[in-house]
Symmetry: D2
Subunit: 241 residues, 4 copies
């Protein structure tokens, strides 16, 4: 993985301890990124890609707690669950539904890790979308304003509960759409995430209490639209000829 993409991807390090039954394969250097494999990979948290002192209307305290407790906490939990999966699979007496309790935890933590990583990486910007990107979004939604009104409306509906709002490019349907996701384990298959907004209460309650709409306003003023544009270009280009 080239150094310039370090920030945008999670780093995978080899696990120290692996269950005997699924010892990590020796991999050539080119495959180092996946060392550890399905049962042994250990995810390392990505540092905050901006200075949390300088975001608009989102406090350093909130951002630091969000990163440290919710994101890093999810990374640790994911790493732990992988080890437990290896043990449980090696034991032929593990009932399938008990095993799936762990697989569900893996799905939840994977979602939390990946979505938080994307969330922080699309913050720290000016909040002003470039003309090109606005035109692309408008082409899918009728207008940029219609897109924004739907994205915000989904967020407000989640505000009383939890979840994520994701603008993503659906590689199968070849559509740029907004998605409603009630928790970390929800989501559409084979969608390239383009803009990600966390609506769990830990993303705003410290600063805004229950005023989810004010948090959404604050979120929009901090969007890193350059990162968003790059994701859309990569994500939507992939499936073309």
């Amino acid at each position: 993985m080239p150094s310039q993409s370090r920030r945008s991807f999670l780093q995978i390090a080899t696990a120290g301890t692996l269950a005997a039954a699924v010892a990590a394969p020796r991999l050539p250097a080119a495959e180092a990124a996946t060392a550890g494999g399905a049962f042994g990979a250990q995810v390392t948290p990505t540092p905050l890609p901006f200075d949390p002192k300088h975001l608009n209307s989102l406090s350093e305290k909130l951002l630091q707690s969000h990163w440290e407790n919710n994101y890093v906490g999810a990374v640790k939990a994911l790493n732990t669950v992988r080890g437990k999966l290896a043990q449980a699979l090696a034991d032929a007496n593990t009932p399938a539904y008990v095993y799936n309790g762990l697989k569900r935890e893996q799905l939840i933590r994977t979602g939390s890790v990946v979505l938080h990583d994307l969330y922080f990486a699309n913050l720290g910007g000016s909040g002003a979308a470039g003309a090109d990107l606005r035109a692309k979004i408008a082409a899918s939604f009728g207008s940029f304003d219609i897109w924004e009104s739907e994205f915000r409306k989904i967020g407000q509906g989640l505000g009383g509960g939890t979840g994520w709002v994701v603008l993503g490019f659906n590689r199968r349907l070849r559509l740029l759409e907004n998605y409603w996701m009630a928790d970390h384990a929800s989501g559409p298959v084979d969608v390239a995430p383009v803009l990600v907004m966390d609506m769990y209460e830990h993303a705003f309650a410290m600063d805004y209490g229950a005023a989810a709409a004010k948090y959404i306003d604050a979120f929009f003023t901090n969007i890193q639209w350059e990162a968003v544009q790059k994701r859309l270009e990569q994500g939507s280009a992939l499936m073309r000829g």
Copy 2:
């Protein structure tokens, strides 16, 4: 989209009727695939990519019903929901949580449409995986057998309930993993699906009653591994420099 990939992607047709507020943008030919946009796109079902008379241990009756009722039913529902979304968004009085009831339906139907499309497209084969693919899977899971035992175990745990088992390449974690998904709306973000097994009871009850393990055996004898290999190559190549 080149003609040879017609089978593996859904066809999107322009909707006949669109809510005034989100009239479909005029698009140049190159963008025809996304005509209709986020609110107007109408999905057309992909025909079964194999002759349902000739699968091993899965009856024509079951496969035909599965395709017609569950897959085509999901396509129709998705197309209907899109129209309802456009109407509801255009009405400023729609409460956000009512709007999100529709967005949830959209997520469920999108999952059902895309996963069924992938499921049928990875059936109709010999059930024999090539040496290359076996090696790639083994590199991630320790061995091909460990992969298969986990994939089957997840399926058995879902057998009493519902859901999907997906082998997929996680583009963010750069890992090939098996995923547990309890329903159409569950799933990991930005994962390229490689092998998809339907564990909803409609996929097997007509032939096997509650004997989910026998259905899993039958599924394995029909896997179209060539399609699986192609998906893995495309999906895992995407994020490399």
Copy 3:
């Protein structure tokens, strides 16, 4: 528990083996029903309360498989999960989110056991509701027909997915209502279930394939309305002065 209610409640037997940390308390005879306690109780399946050969339009094969595989399977899983919970709680190193994976399994199996028990107990009847009960239902829903049309509509919406439809008396809101439940773990708190319809595909696919509406017709012709009336009387009387 008086002998005449044997059929309507699950029998709880003392577990043979209990984790040392949560050994079953010695209980006086009057408490025998809860012997084993939260971690040790072992549920015994209730036999089918009707002869499966003689239901209208639901085959013996389907009913027998439903009882044996889905209901008894859930009972066994619930008993197993209780033992695993005791072990996991006794181990101070169990992460809370791993423990909750087991608690979730407990919730799912508890729902499956209890709802199946109620489902079978409200089958085997004539399908003809008495005038009294019709009047009570009408008083809450406007008319008996409105009630029936909503109950059926929920069932049809679940037909493509999974879940339960429950007519229940909400002891907190003091309302007789229909509930939509997408899976065994969904449900309203403190509701006395009155009429329960299984919409998991295992309840009908063997006989009806994907034709959920035909199954709903069949279900209605077999309702044991006397059992339903008794539940309503008991459930709604409880919270009155």
Copy 4:
């Protein structure tokens, strides 16, 4: 409903406007509590049963916001959804899966209303459980400490996500158990709730940020055990001969 139970139950008022098709039946005085029926009932929020200035380690600001935004918000949403259900059912063109989107909202809001009502009603106490109640809990769990350790562990597991922890008497299994509930729509059927702890982040983030364990400590020092004891007596007495 006798005046002394006003605090523990929700008040149901007749809806002002009802869809024509489901006009509220005229009810005798004794049935006034359910006036409005399944489609017309309007819930009125219960005032906080304690002075929010005087709880231990839970701020007035937090408690006031929780009551006003999350609880009252849920009451309003539930009342709105009932009206939308009546309209949607009266329209024969409503697809069943769109109708079920509203039924799901009803289930979520019903859970939120009832559980919040119970939560506030089991706060405002001394935090000291009486000997009788401790003995009853110990009889089910092995010891009071085992009960408390499980209740807290479930809470910590939910801390990173959302949900409720409920100690309840399962009327079907005749067991006093702790339940894990990931959201307002989750829950076991026919369980009398005895002690309810809110683990949504709105219950603690304003005061404790992500420190869920500290909130659980604070919760325990405020438990109104007299209310808990009364619920257990009522709930567990009901199904006995």
